[in-house]
Symmetry: C2
Subunit: 494 residues, 2 copies
Amino acid sequence: MPSPNNMSNATEGRWPDDVGIIATEIYFPSQYVDQEQLEIFDGIPAGKYTIGLGQSKMGFCTDCEDINSLCLTAVQNLMDRNQITYDSIGRLEVGTETIIDKSKSVKTVLMQLFGDSGNTSVEGIDTTNACYGGTAALFNAAAWVESSAWDGRYALVVAGDIAVYATGNARPTGGAGAIAMLVGPNAPLVLERGLRHTHMEHVYDFYKPDMASEYPRVDGKLSIQCYLGALDKCYQGYCVKAEAQMQKEGDSSHYTMDRFDAMCFHSPFCKLVQKSLARLMLNDFMRDPKPDTNDGGRYAGLRGYKDLKLEETFMDREVEKAFMNCSKEMFAAKTKPSTLVANQVGNMYTPSLYGGLVSFLASCNLAELPGKRIGLFSYGSGLAASLFSLQVKGDTAPGSPLWKLRSSLDDLKFRLDSRRCVEPSVFAETMKLREDTHHLAKYTPVGSIADLFPGTWYLTYVDEMHRRKYSSKPSSNLPSPRVDKVPVSSLINS
Amino acid sequence: MPSPNNMSNATEGRWPDDVGIIATEIYFPSQYVDQEQLEIFDGIPAGKYTIGLGQSKMGFCTDCEDINSLCLTAVQNLMDRNQITYDSIGRLEVGTETIIDKSKSVKTVLMQLFGDSGNTSVEGIDTTNACYGGTAALFNAAAWVESSAWDGRYALVVAGDIAVYATGNARPTGGAGAIAMLVGPNAPLVLERGLRHTHMEHVYDFYKPDMASEYPRVDGKLSIQCYLGALDKCYQGYCVKAEAQMQKEGDSSHYTMDRFDAMCFHSPFCKLVQKSLARLMLNDFMRDPKPDTNDGGRYAGLRGYKDLKLEETFMDREVEKAFMNCSKEMFAAKTKPSTLVANQVGNMYTPSLYGGLVSFLASCNLAELPGKRIGLFSYGSGLAASLFSLQVKGDTAPGSPLWKLRSSLDDLKFRLDSRRCVEPSVFAETMKLREDTHHLAKYTPVGSIADLFPGTWYLTYVDEMHRRKYSSKPSSNLPSPRVDKVPVSSLINS
């Protein structure tokens, strides 16, 4: 890592170069339930979860992990694996919708990690709107680095959540995890300036008004409509901004999905991600003054859809099918690689989109990464959504920031595969245990510590005043970055 | 207001000039309970609330106001009174610890106000850590304006809370309200660049682990220690940064409180604010290599305290008394004027510090404002704290931004005085009503709409799915900015 002091040009009144993501660390639970087995256990037709939702495995936590422990784990592993010192962090913001205290932020709990360094001057607290909090924290961190408040130190962004649902249709769309991201200048993943569009609305599609419960209220159909509608708005706004930049450079063509090498989405379930890419192709089709609908053309056979109104197509199965078919190759090339973690862990809420990003990066060989442009769509119910883009920059020499970032993902497959498969009945019992013990005072968790990954933080006790105590397992076995990498695209079930 | 488009220099890669607060709007409930009456009602010795805590009146809400309605009111009044159009807002972030949904942000509820404008491209969500959320939102908004993400539009910061306590010692330290602040360049209240220091720690001094209740857990003694300890750290860090700036300009003197024309504090209760100013004087005394302890000197008679260790004095009554005595004049001049709203409304949590800021501004004649430097100390339990400063800039000509800002506070006294005084028994019944109906579904609030101020939003119904519906009273009678202003410093009870 470059010395923080060398990075600062705050006194010049200018933005530093190439602000973006320097390093990432993903954490997911060491156990999962298999979705095929869950179909049988739930007594529903085979394929409903695996094909209908596109999910293979669902990670979950016992009662010995909570939002604080997940974020402690992600941050400590990021710091250790990248050999960053705690005094080089000037900002830390947490995005989460797993609220276990209405006042005290997860961020303040993470300050425990800074104890030995003596660094207490760390800006940023928690930010919340459903699954959008991680993106808000990332945008805030990047703005801080570009602002006069920046003091040359790194920013840390942490997105973490435990997604659990009451028994019923939504239960297989759970998940859990956390991602920590180091943000600063001269990053290998650069936030493209001026290229993002945000759409926010007041809607009750998914929300958590039952404060005592971990479970949300969901209007599934409405939420999908809101997601796809926000995707339309964000993409349209993004295209306007991108085209304005292109015109400045003498390019008067339309912006299309061709300009993204990869497209990552927030993933409530993987099937929606595939539908979302189709939706962007539908947008390109509608924006194209002369779409090639001839045989062999990109939009072959779709001429009849030209007079559609986008806002009337959210639940139109025929249109959906036509554009999913038309976008099949684009999905395989640009989006499917990013669904690995979502498929294998489930919906992690705020980290979901960034699980997509690390999945995509892990699917690529280092040599092919430089120059790639990655589109990202972040959605949080309620609703808040943004579409933005990253560009991969930097050289691939061993020890370079890009090499380090990519190398840190070499063990993603190993870590996913080394998880324990747990019977659906045990999963159901665990959910019941969480229900029964959620927010209990004078409570000692009963979940197995032995089964946790090395380096995992866990809850040891909630005292009579609801104060939470944590401990951690030694992290001795974490692999360090290697030169040879294995693309993991072949691992993705569909 | 300047046209947002004229403000943008985002393409230049430089920070715009004078980023800060352009306009403010404070909202507090139209009713209050008198603290003297509350002392009698609670059967405690006279003066405990009024002199011991330094509180005169406490604002509170019936069941027809919640965090969403408070923020709706503050934003709409700000927009209306300053004649700002909703399409000129590019960012809106809410700081609050009044959480009534674990996922859906207050920000998304505020998007209802943007409906007619068609503007849905508004970044920012909610941010939480006890009373610090408003400050985090302000820092984020200012960084956004200085960053590449800024599109030339204004940012809005909203801080709002309902502070209520279970019956007992802490109950008289409640309050309620919201403040909206317009943030952008060329502001009359400029955030001084490079001059802020933040201190964060993991501590359980005040927190809200009981998700179903509105009431917090408080360790009062610990919280005061934490507050004063964070004040020490923040002021020391601020001084280091200020002295570094001074040295660049050839000034090698120590930074002292003399350089602030006013000092505003987060105010849990006004007595703590007075102790806090005394604490800063103690810090100046300790930092002074040769404090003048002779008769007639600033620190007359305090020589014996020179060997104190700061961290051992948090609960030392003798030291506290000595420095409160020594800082009496400074308190009257620099801080007491800022305690008006805190004294008259109570602790509003996130808006508290900014209630101090508007109280100070309202206490000054317009002509004396330009050039004034205002120190601000923000504290949120858990804990997160920052000390930063604003400088008043701009001319005082009618119609200027500073004139408008100051004029908008002309009616502060009128609004405080026009509130309804409610019997302590009615206040207690209202608290019980809130307890009994908090989070109820299929609930129609029973609180009087007639008693609300004009322009107030209120909750009309919580449906069976916990979706909340709001309406608002006409705002026809809001006074518009005038030229003649009345200083309100004379109104402050002590």
